[in-house]
Subunit: 345 residues, 2 copies
């Protein structure tokens, strides 16, 4: 199997660098390079930048892989990957494929990062479609809830959703050490009779999955349940998942913005000074900068997709997460979790 | 046309009461009756309670229509309406159908309220499926954004979504006096190439709708755009709409709860006292109690569905809204807005 770096021994693989797309994101290359430099300075994790030599600014002693094109945030992902064969994203994915990097990290065009990983690393055996897994912070425990698919596949079938459950559970196990992840299906009512035909059929398949599935299927949940501490993985199609994720992020941002505006009023200076030390521990876990980014599951290598607005802090987290799951064997775990549906697709 | 009360003259219709389901909601009958009594005492709006005589508590001088059964929050909507022909919901819908009430209001089982209205009042001509329209508060202007369908139809076709756009625009015009509503389609990217097949086909139909549609189609929006002041109506299928609405409500509730908990800390007493007068004007419009409830559009009568946890305040608002849109001719406006799709369905 040509799994990224898998032809290497464990020690060889573990000494590979994480490939970082130096040109991806609204604040590239400055914040990206700063994050990579910080990781190199403060940890044992190796980093290789992927970008146009000379256009990345001061990269210090960091090694780099040359790539002379950039797929922009507004470029069509498929066309971008097909036409820009020397782009940072394509070269980063090739580095993983060729055993030159243990993982790739990008804050660039999400669709293009996905397409690069899919086309260059390839799908894992039996995987119908890769999915994007996004951590939703949970304030009542130390690990987040994993939402997938949060945007890779606008149209899904029940067997795809069953595989998302399997891959999401494998991810929760490897990334957050949740032994028996509780997996829920996003719907519009808790009863199994509720929902779209896709949800009802998936519910039946997951219920029939049995005890050896490696996760605990806990039934349907609703949009209001994203912050419940009793769920580890929430499965849905990429259209619903993307709408829900952006609604959640937008609602939190809206309210945080409104409260921040109030706290900036001159007559509330003292109250704000008293309050901020208490608010920060609440705000920190909700900040996408701190979650380490989303993860593309189902491809033959580790691919972390960080927020487009990522600062160096987000990049440090993304590189660390990419390294940790790569070393922990996430790709093998995902590959082992996926079964071919008896119903086919 | 047997439109609810439409056989009556304008004056006769305008003097009809609003039928209120006395037994619907978690806090029925107490809070429901209290709300009805308050409306009767403080406004010119007439109210008729629908419920089991003797089981509604002290209803003062309020008139009532007897109904001896209740469809519970967990009852199957279709079965409930078919089997409980003497239920408060069915009787309320019949009152509108028979010209005994100008509108109905319920805080009970949403699906059963919908089924009662649909089966007893009937669909408006040409309407493929009724939809639930829910107001999303907007802090930057005086009127909310209307989301539909927020849960009536888990499965939709492009012609249905086009009609939701037409009905939502008619509602925004009648209820919020928005002359030329800006209607957007909920998707996972602003480009028309993005989204599910349903969204792409609907986009094409709405774009082809032309200038005489009575609304301004502004293209796709994403989950993060619910609080944008540049959109009046957001159209989606009932599955996505329900997930998005509950995600939005759940996210706001989660954050409001977390901040409230912080403000309750003893060492923050002074800061909280200073802050609350500033926070309340933010919280009030976000409170579902104040929005007047969701509206079922496409049936032959006015049907307002209030939150299950409605207090008397929510019921006062719901009755007032039901009265106002009934008198304003909402049903005629919705009927006039709906066209049969050339593509059929």
């Amino acid at each position: 199997m040509a799994r990224g770096g898998a032809r290497l021994t464990g020690d060889e693989f573990n000494s590979l660098p994480v490939a970082v797309d130096a040109m991806g994101g609204d604040r590239a290359p400055g914040e990206i390079v700063a994050g990579a430099l910080e990781v190199a300075a403060k940890t044992d994790i190796k980093v290789v930048l992927v970008g146009p030599p000379g256009d990345m600014g001061d990269i210090g002693d960091l090694p780099f892989l040359p790539a002379h094109e950039v797929i922009g945030m507004d470029d069509d992902p498929g066309q971008g990957v097909r036409r820009k064969k020397d782009s940072t994203l394509v070269r980063a994915a090739e580095a993983v494929r060729d055993g030159k990097a243990m993982a790739m990290v990008s804050a660039g065009n999400t669709g293009a990062a996905m397409a690069s990983a899919l086309l260059r690393m390839g799908r894992l055996p039996s995987v119908i479609r890769p999915a994007i897994a996004t951590p939703i912070p949970n304030l009542q425990r130390s690990w987040p809830t994993v939402l997938l698919d949060s945007g890779a596949n606008a149209e899904c079938t029940p067997p795809m959703l069953v595989q998302f459950a399997q891959m999401g559970a494998a991810f929760a196990r490897k990334r957050y050490a949740v032994d028996m992840p509780r997996v829920a299906l996003l719907s519009i009512g808790e009863e199994k009779s509720k929902g779209s035909p896709l949800v009802k059929e998936t519910h039946a398949l997951l219920e029939a999955g049995g005890a050896d599935s490696g996760f605990d299927f806990v039934g349907n949940v609703e949009g209001r349940d994203f912050f419940e501490p009793t769920i580890d993985v929430i499965v849905t199609d990429g259209f619903t998942g993307n709408v829900a994720l952006k609604t959640l992020e937008g609602s939190l941002r809206f309210l945080i913005g409104a409260v921040t505006e109030i706290l900036a009023r001159p007559e509330l200076k003292q109250a704000a000074d008293d309050l901020y030390p208490h608010l920060l521990p609440l705000a920190a876990p909700l900040d996408p900068e701190n979650t380490g980014g989303a993860m593309l599951l189902g491809v033959n290598g580790v691919c972390v997709i960080s927020h487009g607005s990522s600062s160096s802090v987000a990049i440090v987290n993304a590189i660390t997460v990419a390294h940790d799951v790569a070393v922990a064997g996430l790709v093998d775990a995902v590959a082992a979790s996926v079964t071919t549906m008896p119903a086919g697709d």
